[in-house]
């Protein structure tokens, strides 16, 4: 497993943007969870592609302690309809475009994890771009990164490599501490 995130930088509560090829995006998600969990962090995964149940299975296969991962799932509710949040495991929101609910879910989840070493993983900016314009994505990420810094929490944003235009890329680069080209 490649060391995607520098443990020392993670310890400094830094924020990362990881760029990966479309085919390896899922694997990079799993790699980050494995590494961050092994470092004793609790990870909040905001998933916009796969339902949390699938990701949970994939994480479980790699030996990740599933108690160290909770989810904000933007996929399941739109398919199933009524679903109930499972405390400590998953919070559902109805669409990746619902940034208000996403913000509330993240804030509540972070409150629950107060005192723990927490990292938040957004998978992925590229999928969110289907639902949101690049200026709105930029504003949202600016808001999230500010919040993470204020709360002294690490964060990882996943995106498809070469999938962000130069303007958005330059903006995101200024919001995060490190850009990692994971291939």
């Amino acid at each position: 497993m490649p060391n995607l995130v520098n443990p020392e930088e993670l310890e400094k509560r830094q924020i990362f943007l990881i760029l990966a090829s479309p085919a390896s995006l899922r694997q990079r998600n799993i790699d980050v969870i494995m590494q961050v969990s092994a470092l004793g962090y609790h990870t909040i995964v905001v998933t916009t592609n796969f339902p949390y149940t699938v990701l949970r299975k994939l994480y479980g296969e790699t030996g990740v302690d599933l108690a160290s991962v909770s989810f904000i799932d933007t996929v399941t509710r739109a398919s199933i309809g009524t679903v109930t949040d499972i405390p400590g495991v998953v919070r559902y929101i109805n669409s990746p475009s619902n940034l208000t609910d996403m913000g509330i879910a993240v804030t509540e989840e972070l409150k629950e994890k107060t005192g723990k070493k927490v990292c938040i993983l957004y998978d992925s900016i590229s999928t969110m771009l289907i639902y949101l314009t690049s200026p709105n994505i930029s504003k949202f990420i600016h808001f999230v990164t500010n919040k993470l810094r204020l709360m002294d929490i690490s964060g990882v944003f996943l995106a498809v490599e070469k999938g962000l235009d130069p303007m958005l890329m330059s903006q995101l680069t200024t919001f995060v501490d490190t850009v990692i080209d994971a291939g």
């Binding site: 339902p51 739109a78 771009l129 289907i130 690049s134 498809v160």
Partner: protein, 337 residues
């Protein structure tokens, strides 16, 4: 009769010259009475010498409007108050047929045989002035900024488009050379532009399609594409600067690039994501790692993504139509559909 009079006044040798001159010549006695009126004067004014010689009324006929006549008289009196002649005085006369002609007058006082006479020479400059006015009209009505500078850099022409684009009226610009400081208020930018212009002119003596950003009087930024040319004018050098306001064009181009990149980000890449997600569903299903319900959820999610991409495409099409007015109607309808 007049020729005789003229001969009396000027001598035989000059009679032909007087009569065949292409300019109107009138000789007046001390009291303003016409004593000679040449052929060109007859042709230009339409008044024959028979009706003019020995009278002083011709001026009332040539300037029938009293107010205008008074203003001409006033100007002449003012000139004659400090010298005995006037040069290049331009007036508009009304001919016998009612046409207007522009005459450029020069006078000279002569004393002959102890008598004082005034010779008034009038050149019909109507065609020249009309041509000038036409040229000025073209310059003034051109929809490009036209500025003409003398060899010292002082502005001598500043057309209507220049006023409209920059916001600076000609009375604030003509005869001055500080307009560039107003148009380029940022000293560093001004220096950069000046260096570029100096470099180009040193090499080519003119420049083409040089783009600069000016700041108008109201503080708005406009992008101007400049072309210049040096011309010689009566031995002096003039610099003609023609500026085309390409702000809207550049904005439309930038908008198009922005839309195209946004489209690439929000359509091309997401289609790739959908493809990879579906492929992953296939792989996970084959490996028996996901349930049918999970498979359906992922596929539904990809269908929603695809639906959203269709909406995005329609939004882009509408945005492009709004931004680009040049799109033909048939294509506009298609993109709107």
């Amino acid at each position: 009769m007049v020729v005789n009079t003229h001969t009396d006044q000027c001598g035989d040798a000059d009679a032909g010259l007087f009569e065949n001159a292409l300019v109107m010549i009138a000789v007046l006695d001390k009291r303003g009475k016409i004593i000679a009126w040449n052929h060109a004067a007859e042709t230009i004014t339409g008044y024959t010498r028979d009706t003019v010689i020995g009278t002083t009324t011709i001026w009332r006929r040539l300037y029938p409007d009293q107010q205008y006549r008074n203003s001409v008289t006033g100007r002449i009196m003012e000139i004659l108050s400090h010298k005995k002649y006037f040069e290049n005085l331009e007036t508009t006369i009304r001919t016998k047929s009612g046409d207007s002609r522009i005459i450029l007058w020069n006078t000279k006082e002569i004393v002959q045989d102890g008598k004082t006479h005034a010779i008034a020479v009038g050149m019909d400059v109507t065609s020249q002035r009309e041509a000038d006015a036409f040229r000025e009209s073209i310059i003034d009505n051109a929809n490009v900024l036209i500025a003409v500078l003398d060899s010292q850099g002082y502005i001598i022409i500043w057309n209507r488009a220049a006023e409209s684009i920059t916001g600076y009226p000609r009375n604030e610009v003509i005869g001055k050379r500080d307009i560039w400081k107003h148009l380029y208020p940022d000293a560093e930018y001004r220096r950069t532009i000046t260096r570029r212009i100096t470099g180009i002119i040193a090499e080519h003596r003119y420049f083409e399609n040089l783009e600069t950003t000016i700041v108008t009087k109201t503080g708005e930024q406009r992008i101007i594409s400049w072309n210049t040319q040096q011309i010689g004018f009566h031995g002096a050098v003039r610099e003609i600067a023609i500026g085309r306001d390409i702000t809207e064009q550049r904005q439309a181009e930038e908008a198009l690039v922005a839309y195209m990149t946004e489209m690439a980000m929000r359509i091309k890449q997401p289609v790739g994501i959908i493809r990879d997600n579906i492929q992953e569903v296939v792989n996970l299903t084959r490996a028996g790692k996901i349930t049918t319900d999970e498979m359906i959820m992922i596929l539904e999610s990809q269908a929603r993504n695809a639906t959203q991409i269709t909406v995005n495409v329609q939004e882009f099409q509408k945005a492009i139509i709004e931004k680009n007015t040049q799109i033909p109607d048939a294509y506009r309808e298609f993109l709107n559909g």
